[in-house]
Each structure stands twice: as C-alpha cells, then as structure tokens.
C-alpha cells in the first residue's frame, strides 16, 4: 500500500518569509513524487516532480529516501503563492500492471501581505 501524509492543513506566512510544506510518504518500492497546486477557481496542475530536480516559481523539493520525505520549499514567499498544495506519489501496483497515483490531504498556504 502507498500513503502520502501532509501534516499541516493550513499554513500562513508573511510575504518575503521562507515557506516549507511538509510531505511524508510510505511506499515499499522506488517512488515517483510530485507536488501539485490548485489556485482559486483553477484546475489542479503539476508544480514540480522529483525526477526533474527542477525549480518552478522559486519552489524546490528534495526527495529524502532515508526520511521518506519530499518537502516543498521556497525561500521568499509571494502573495500569488497562496493556494492549495498537494503532494502525490506514483507507485507501481504489486501486479506490475500500472502505477497508482495517490495524493495527500493537502495544505492550504496563505501568504499575508
């Protein structure tokens, strides 16, 4: 079974402050991890994926297999970063037939002026 845990439902920071959204996972194989974002009244969309090791909109996330974590970080938060953020894990089924995409419960980030 695969599981994604986001311990914070709500997170508020001031503009310009650093932000870290926590994500922990449980999966026996080699995981693929993602962060998705949903801005107000918009579709859920991909923010970044661990396999690309990229920085998108100033956000980065590092996969730590020892701690089974994939925390999302940004050094200086902006008001336009206010959104719902979901961590997701893609894991191969035991049958090997397909990959299941599992999401966490989400963190609502509010960046205050």
């Amino acid at each position: 079974a695969q599981r994604v845990t986001q311990p914070e439902k709500l997170l508020s920071v001031f503009k310009g402050a650093p932000v870290e959204l926590k994500c922990n996972y449980s999966y026996s194989g080699s995981p693929e991890l993602f962060w998705y974002v949903q801005y107000s009244r918009q579709r859920l969309q991909l923010l970044l994926r661990h396999i690309s090791r990229e920085s998108i909109k100033g956000f980065t996330a590092d996969l730590n297999k020892g701690e089974t974590s994939f925390h999302l970080k940004k050094p200086f938060a902006q008001e336009e970063d206010s959104a719902m953020y979901y961590c997701a894990l893609s894991g191969l089924l035991s049958s090997g037939s397909a990959r299941q995409l599992t999401f966490g419960s989400g963190t609502q980030l509010t960046v205050l002026p």
């Binding site: 986001q6 439902k9 693929e32 993602f34 998705y36 579709r43 859920l44 969309q45 991909l46 994926r49 396999i51 690309s52 979901y86 997701a88 893609s90 089924l93 037939s97 397909a98 990959r99 299941q100 995409l101 599992t102 999401f103 966490g104 419960s105 989400g106």
Partner: protein
C-alpha cells in the same frame, strides 16, 4: 492544448438515483483516474484504469463503479446515490510512462439531496 473534459460542472441528484459522470481526454493517454475531493481529506482515489476495459480499485471504491469502453472516455457510476456522496469529483489522465504528469478536468460538483 491538452484537454480533460468532464461532462458537467454542477449536478444535483436525488437519493437513490443512478448517476453517471463522464470524462473525456484528447491526449491518447493510457491512464485515467477518478478522485473525490473533500475539505480536509484531500483527493481520494476511487478507481483508475490503465487500458480499455481494465480497471483497478482505489482507496474508496464502495458505492461506485466505472466503465472504460474507449481509450478516451472514462465514466464513473454511482449505482444508488446517497447524501454522503455529495462531493467534488475530479477526473485525471496521464501517459503510462514513468514520471509523467497527470492532467485534470475542471471537476464536477455533485450534490445528492
């Protein structure tokens, strides 16, 4: 421009009705997913499909079934709608390759009265 389209934005149904939610994608993706999105619970996977006529149960399949007769279309069926199925339903699709992103529909807000 990639597209995942859900047939209805809002639906109101009565308890006990059979309800069909339709999702169509135009990206020739192998994988399609149905989630429900509830505050505080995040996205929970109901069912997914990795090929025509192939399906896998997600984390909360009870009370739901699915149909995938054509590659581009994935239907979610509520056999006998109940008030606890009032929710936002999201459809997504992705290719079968590792590390690829999932694309989401705009969501269907279903209210069962």
């Amino acid at each position: 421009d990639v597209k995942v389209t859900q047939s209805s934005r809002y639906l109101v149904k009565r308890t006990g009705e059979k309800v069909f939610l339709e999702c169509v994608q135009d990206m020739d993706h192998e994988n399609m997913f149905w989630y429900r999105q509830d505050p505080g619970l995040g996205l929970r996977l109901i069912y997914f499909s990795y090929d025509v006529k192939m399906k896998e149960k997600g984390d909360i399949p009870e009370g739901y079934s699915v149909s995938r007769e054509k590659k581009e279309r994935f239907s979610l069926i509520l056999e006998s709608a109940s008030t606890n199925q009032t929710s936002m339903y999201l459809c997504a699709s992705s290719s079968r390759w590792e590390g690829t992103e999932a694309f989401f529909g705009q969501g269907t807000r279903l209210t069962v009265v």
